[in-house]
Amino acid sequence: MIRIILAIILFMGVLLESTIFPFPLTLIFFMLMAAFWDDNIALWAFIAGLALDLFSGKILGGNSVFFLAIVWISQRYRMKLHPANLYYQLIFMLLSVIIYSSLIYKSVEIWKLLGATVCYAIILAFLRGFFPQLERHGRLIVE
């Protein structure tokens, strides 16, 4: 159920970003998803990227490549980019958003970045607090 809701949020991100709010919302929503969800995340990255390309009227596959690169990095450094590592998560998100904004929107707006970082941190903490079952099983729990 939560996954369906997240998928809807992802689609809303695509719709809002391509229509009224030129900011990497889809990327941020996707990174939130990727932080908690391992199964078929690459496929979701591919689909989300394609949807964003279609809705934005851009070359098909461009966003998919970027999103898949994010997935590859998060899988490569999964221990560091665990949701419990808030600072790493935030730094990774910030870097991704800055690179994406520079490449796609040709501008980086500091206030939007700050807002996105705060929102990302709050949502991450909220999801960890209220939906602990979503976390990848036993990654950081080393007692």
Binding site: A45, L54, S64, V65, Q75
Partner: protein
């Protein structure tokens, strides 16, 4: 590797898609998809605009309310001013008419709005404006009446229709007489000597006796009562104007 991690495969597919899209091979797929995407985006955009308008209205509500109130006030002021302008225009044309009347330059006038016309003509000028009893009231060169009584802000004017008025007059053929009210809304020319000529259509003017100014038009002879036995002749007069239609008159304050 491919089963466990499809990321690389998907990246390769993505690059292939980029290549195909650049080549234009995906247009046949994109064109029908656009037919769904465009209305969806339009709906979202309209919703955003509606929301923006709504929030704008909410944010600017005090300003809008003030503007609405201001608008109502201005509309009211505009109506009042339009009425005032209309009155001023009427007053102005009357004043021009009065100034253009061939009356002696020494005459000074007090303009007065007509309040009602009944037994007396009630005018909105009293002792405050300098009106005094027995002052003569005119409209242009036409005699309206004589001030009978004065209060602070209003005065009553005795009209030629009133039986209490006794106005020395002369006709356009120099026949002398006295104008007074006949009752029933008629004006009577009385005390005209039998030898003096009276004809229908003769104009009747003030003679200048009894403290009245000279040559003010009173009316026109409309009916003659010929009776050789009587000492004097009489005639009925048609007033020079309809007193009921008067809106503004002038009190001669200085002869």
């Amino acid at each position: 590797m491919t089963k466990k991690n499809p990321t690389l495969w998907l990246i390769i597919i993505s690059f292939l898609l980029i290549l195909f899209d650049y080549s234009g091979w995906l247009d046949s797929f994109k064109i029908p998809v656009e037919k769904v995407i465009i209305p969806t985006k339009q709906t979202v955009f309209r919703a955003k605009t509606a929301l923006q308008n709504f929030t704008d209205i909410l944010i600017k509500y005090p300003q809008l309310k003030k503007l609405t109130d201001d608008n109502s006030r201005i509309v009211k002021q505009n109506r009042e001013l339009a009425t005032e302008v209309k009155i001023c225009n009427e007053e102005n044309s009357k004043l021009r008419y009065q100034l253009g009347a061939p009356l002696p330059a020494s005459y000074q006038f007090i303009p007065a709005q007509v309040v009602t016309v009944g037994r007396f003509m009630e005018i909105a000028a009293g002792s405050k404006a300098g009106v005094k009893p027995d002052m003569v009231v005119v409209d242009g060169k036409t005699f309206i009446g004589k001030v009978a009584s004065v209060s602070y802000g209003r005065s009553n004017v005795l009209l030629p229709l009133n039986t209490e008025l006794s106005l020395p007059v002369t006709t356009s053929r120099d026949a002398k007489g006295i104008v007074t009210g006949q009752g029933g809304g008629k004006i009577l020319l009385d005390k005209v000597l039998q030898k003096d000529p009276l004809f229908l259509g003769d104009e009747v003017f003030t003679s200048g006796e009894g403290g009245y100014p000279t040559d003010l038009i009173v009316g026109v002879i409309s009916h003659i009562n010929a009776d050789d036995v009587s000492t004097y002749k009489q005639a009925s007069l048609e007033p020079a104007l309809d007193y009921n239609k008067e809106k503004m008159v002038f009190v001669i304050s200085s002869l």
